[in-house]
Amino acid sequence: MLARTADNLFWLARYVERAEFTARIIDITARLAALPKAYGNSGSEWESALSAVGSLERFNETYDTPDEASVIEFLIFDPENASSIRSCIELARTNARAVRTALTADMWQSINACWLELRNYEQTRAPFERMSRERIDPFLDVVKTMSRDFDGAGYRNMLRNDAYWFNRLGLYMERADNTARILDVKYHVLLPENETVGGSLDYFQWTAILRAVNAFTAYHWVYRQGIKPWLIADLLILKKEMPRSLTSCYDNLAHFLDAIGRAYGVQGPSQRHARSVLLRLENCEVQDVFQNGMHEFITQFLTDNSRLGTLVAEQYLLN
């Protein structure tokens, strides 16, 4: 297939995934910010939301204080913010338009409908007043639904050929990146066993992380016990059965890269790299992660993940 088509499919999936992640971050932040101080509300929730999506610096360039209205405006509507939900959906749509015939009609429609909805919000309200507390939930649902529809329609209806595989590569690479980032921002509340930090006050922080990656229920099914920070780390990094864990993402990445390699009859640097990252994750225990420092572990992972992006681009997308 055309290198550009593959590139469009790859980025399309990344932008959809990123939009959903940002929506989730806004969701949990609104939840935390609504708690009384005694339950762990530090007053800087909106600032840490910016850290979680990696946009704090960018925000500080144009806005004064990270209050709720500004952060929401910035994360949802700001066209100057390349990671705002608006930018992500617009870019996803542009990419989708360019490869429309490679997508199923449902996939296109899920993105287009969300775009129209967003434009509607944008055109009917003035900046900073678009999101009242009552409106925000339904809006975030629209974004999450888009992502789910897009994903599901692709999973159900796309031919299992390179178009599908490149699309999935984008999805899992972005997902791995997002999970790693939220772990990195919150690693200080995920300290190992026996260390007492914050006590029960951190409970809401922990559950917020789980909710951010849609794993609150899954946690209980897997561990059948109360929320423990090291188990959260275990779940999000190492548990292969947890769809947003780093191991699961790399299991998928290695799988789809292998499919491409088999179809083209050539394996290359990106296949080797994905397999080696997966191997490292599979052979790792949660104690190792803490022993060597979780921040260091995550930093290394983010480097590896972005390296895979470069390798895929060089091997397939920039031909």
Binding site: A3, T5, A98, T101, Y264
Partner: protein, 475 residues
């Protein structure tokens, strides 16, 4: 204003429907307006879902707009069609012979049949192509000839589109929607199929691949990109043809061979169905600032390693000034009389004609020689005094740029509009495909309809709509 009478394709001026329209007439009588309205919104929904949109140049939100679709089919009998078909093929044959000559021996200029400056100073003439031959001497593989009708057997050619004619996707989509929308009405007629158009097109494109490639020729469709007004059509056609839809930067040229960048490395391309204008094709040969084109493409073409469809420089044949010489062109190359008539035309470059035109501006349609899309045009009987004076000044300033034609009594067809079923003016663009093994016309075409009462302008950019065209067995 001059009162004109128009020939209606359904009633032919009388009260009773013509034989080919008998069933449509009956259906219109039997179907209450609210059912028609329901069908229309159903059709609109179908189109929205498929995503047929077009962008209007200059429109503020150059986003996507739906082209109006009229659900009442236009019906043409097989015998009428056969005549048209012959005429169309003849016309395209003459155009190809003309282009071979103009870029070759230039015999028609030596014979003095066409003023030479009309060729040499024509902006669409490409000096770069002089002395080159198109593969199989076919320059125009895809032609869209605009036809208007004024009576039972009076067909006129309004315009020859020999560059990158568009609209064929509407012909195909309209048919699909009609079959879903009105299966009973459709089934009651024996409508000649159009859906094999893309198969014919693919065969046609493959047949003109460079000679000597032993494998199956690789075809690609070259688009200016998703912001082009016809992008939808480009992606639609690429999909139906089963070929890659490429943009300029997806292609590269190495040592006069064209490759496309794929996930598996460079892949050789043999035939390019290009929907980019000549000017932007290759920054090394034409406009140096073109970011849409492919550097080196013209050299690859001249080396015979890739076929461009349509060839470069075909615009010299479809220009409105050259149009006026088509009857002579047909006679010169084919030794036959043109089957399809030309609309009588005054060439304003000729002093006598200019004088006549200036005296009769209120009755005539004045067109810019190089204009398209219904822009830069004066429809005398519908123009205000100021518009007429404006054109008088333009004509006096640069008469060479204009031609004038009588306002044709364009035929009407029943259309379903706000006020109910009413006659509206139509034209027809059939598509002529020419490959190594001859020319073919898919029975049908794009019927454009002026949705506003009395309007003669059918262009989609000016509020025109489309309808399905049925070629049926004679009753």
């Amino acid at each position: 204003m001059v009162e004109q009478t128009f020939w209606d394709e359904m009633t032919s001026d009388g009260a009773d429907a013509r034989a080919v329209y008998a069933r449509v007439d009956q259906w219109l009588r039997d179907t209450p307006p609210d059912v028609l309205a329901a069908r229309r919104s159903q059709a609109e929904l179908l189109f929205r879902r498929i995503g047929i949109t077009f962008a209007v140049y200059g429109a503020k939100d150059a986003g996507e707009r739906l082209i109006p679709f009229d659900i009442i089919p236009r019906v043409i009998g097989q015998s009428e069609w056969s005549l048209l078909e012959k005429g169309l093929i003849q016309r395209v044959k003459a155009i190809n012979a003309f282009l071979t000559d103009i870029y070759g021996a230039r015999e028609i200029l030596r014979a003095g049949l066409i003023p030479s400056d009309l060729v040499y100073r024509n902006p669409h003439f490409r000096p770069e192509m002089a002395g080159r031959r198109a593969p199989h001497d076919i320059w125009v593989h895809i032609a869209g000839i605009d036809i208007v009708r004024t009576g039972e057997s009076d067909f006129y050619v309004l315009e020859d589109n020999a560059r990158t004619p568009s609209g064929v996707s509407y012909m195909l989509e309209n048919r699909e929607v009609m079959m879903r929308l009105l299966p009973d009405l459709f089934g009651a007629h024996r409508v000649a199929p159009v859906e094999n158009y893309t198969d014919l097109l693919l065969n046609c494109l493959r047949s003109v691949a460079p000679i000597g490639s032993s494998r199956e020729p690789v075809v690609a469709l070259l688009t200016p990109g998703q912001y082009n007004s016809a992008y939808y059509e480009h992606s639609f056609l690429a999909d139906r043809l089963g070929v890659e839809l490429v943009e300029g930067h997806d292609l590269s040229v190495r040592d006069d061979v064209v490759y496309m960048r794929t996930t598996q490395g460079p892949k050789r391309v043999d035939v390019i169905y290009r929907r980019i204008d000549d000017d932007y094709l290759d920054p090394l040969a034409f406009r140096a600032d073109s970011a849409l084109g492919v550097p080196g493409l013209v050299n690859a073409y001249n080396a015979g390693n890739v076929t461009l469809s349509n060839a470069i420089g075909t615009g010299v044949a479809d220009d409105k000034a050259m149009y006026t010489y088509m009857p002579e062109i047909v006679r010169f190359y084919l030794g036959e009389e043109a089957i399809l008539k030309n609309v009588p035309t005054w060439r304003c470059r000729e002093a006598d004609a200019l004088k006549y035109v200036l005296e009769h501006l209120g009755e005539l349609v004045v067109k810019e020689v190089n204009g398209s899309g219904g822009y830069g045009m004066l429809v005398g009987p519908h123009a205000t005094r100021a518009e007429i004076e404006d054109f008088r000044a333009k004509l006096t300033e640069a008469p060479d740029n204009y031609i004038a034609q009588p306002t044709l009594s364009l035929s009407t067809c029943p259309a379903f509009v706000e006020s109910g079923v009413a006659p509206r003016h139509v034209d027809l663009r059939p598509f002529v495909l020419t490959g190594a093994d001859g020319s073919r016309v898919v029975p049908g075409g794009l019927t454009r309809v002026a949705m506003r009462a009395g309007s003669l302008v059918v262009n989609s950019s000016q509020g025109g709509g489309t309808k399905d065209t049925w070629i049926i067995e004679d009753a």
